[in-house]
């Protein structure tokens, strides 16, 4: 099996899975009915993307583990998701800011990933991009509404931005996996995506009257399996059913 390709697919899958799980925690707790529905709809898109990716990862691996086993039966150190997506929901503004920073990355990422030479990954990217555009529109509009809203909403979402900013460098983290695969598969160069990302993020933050934080302290580790304390807790909840009732099916 191609170990690097497996890891590359698992990264994208884990980002979708963990953020999808986080968003589904809002189910029944949204501030208004429409947002309860919106956040869980986005969660459903993300879990759907994760399913497609895990099924492909399972094929790459040779079928030793199926998609469910990959999603629910790995240990925390084996997850490759970004630290950003595992951060707790916080208040509604924290959730939407986390979503915005991620969506603004996902859109240019999928746009470029479509051009890769692996047809399965390209197909998933094409499908996911259409959904991501809706997610980004939704999260951008909320960032603007809260940022350019009342003094209270402005201050709170500025705080959300300040505390989440330190996880944004990691969006563009590359390691050996990228070095081995980039040329063969024509995968996106993350450093190039960063320019696009920053341009769009600044555009929205400007409209939202929010200030880009000037702290340079950045966390990394998710792509190598080194996570914050929050991942263990989310996995405990997520994996309970599969561990309590091995091989259960819905």
């Amino acid at each position: 099996m191609n170990k690097e390709l497996f890891e590359y697919v698992i990264r994208i899958a884990d980002d979708s899975l963990i953020l999808g799980q986080r968003l589904s925690e809002w189910c029944g707790h949204g501030p208004i009915l429409e947002e309860d529905i919106a956040l869980t709809n986005i969660a459903l898109d993300l879990i759907g993307q994760a399913t497609n990716l895990f099924e492909y990862a399972s094929q790459i691996e040779g079928g030793d583990r199926n998609a469910d086993q990959l999603a629910f039966l790995r240990f925390d150190r084996e997850y490759r998701n970004l630290l950003l997506v595992e951060q707790p929901n916080g208040d509604f503004g924290d959730t939407l800011m986390r979503q915005f920073l991620f969506d603004a990355f996902r859109k240019p990422f999928f746009e470029r990933l479509i051009a890769c030479t692996d047809l399965q990954i390209s197909g998933i990217a094409e499908k996911s991009l259409k959904e991501t555009k809706y997610h980004l529109k939704h999260s951008s509009e909320w960032v603007i509404r809260l940022g350019d809203g009342t003094e209270e909403s402005h201050n709170r979402i500025q705080n959300s931005l300040d505390s989440l900013w330190r996880y944004t460098d990691e969006l563009f983290f590359e390691n050996q996996v990228d070095a081995v695969l980039l040329d063969d598969f024509n995968f996106p160069k993350l450093s190039e995506i960063k320019e696009d990302w920053l341009k769009n993020v600044e555009l929205v933050l400007d409209e939202a009257t929010l200030a880009v934080p000037d702290n340079n302290w950045q966390f990394k580790g998710g792509r190598e399996g080194l996570h914050s304390e929050h991942l263990g807790k989310i996995l405990a909840e997520m994996q309970f059913m599969q561990r309590a009732y091995p091989n259960m099916e819905w």
């Binding site: 429409e34 759907g48 859109k107 390209s122 197909g123 959904e131 809706y134 529109k137 939704h138 929205v204």
Partner: protein, 161 residues
Amino acid sequence: MVTIEKIWKFLEEVADPEIPVLSIIDLGVVRDVALNDNQCLVTITPTYSGCPAMKYIENQIIELLEMKGVTNVQVKHVLSPAWTTDWISESGRKKLLEYGIAPPVDEVDKSILFADAPKVACPKCGSESTRMISLFGSTACKAQYQCKDCLEPFDYFKCLK
């Protein structure tokens, strides 16, 4: 004799479980039908990645075709080319409207921020004076709107391109 044309015709009887007024043919999720050596292969594609109806639709296809005497039915799922609302048939659009769901209208790319929401006519009274309540609705493929004239809230089958 079972022919490919007949199978396409049969599949018009399989309804989308979430919008039962639409068949899977109207919706454009059936991409291909192939027959060879007593095997029938139906290729379908999901509307959204997380569409929970895919397994159900697969089972319905197999059940219906076997009832019609088609044996050895297989259903294959493909993701590419990705489904678009352009594939909803004319009759599908009409059925949606009659059912009370506004069919998709051509709209600007949703990646363009600050653009006006698309003009969606109210399926109840036809007024174009409507407002979007939320980009997301009762299923992944719908948004929520309200008519400003008759005040009716309604679902809009959102454009996916």
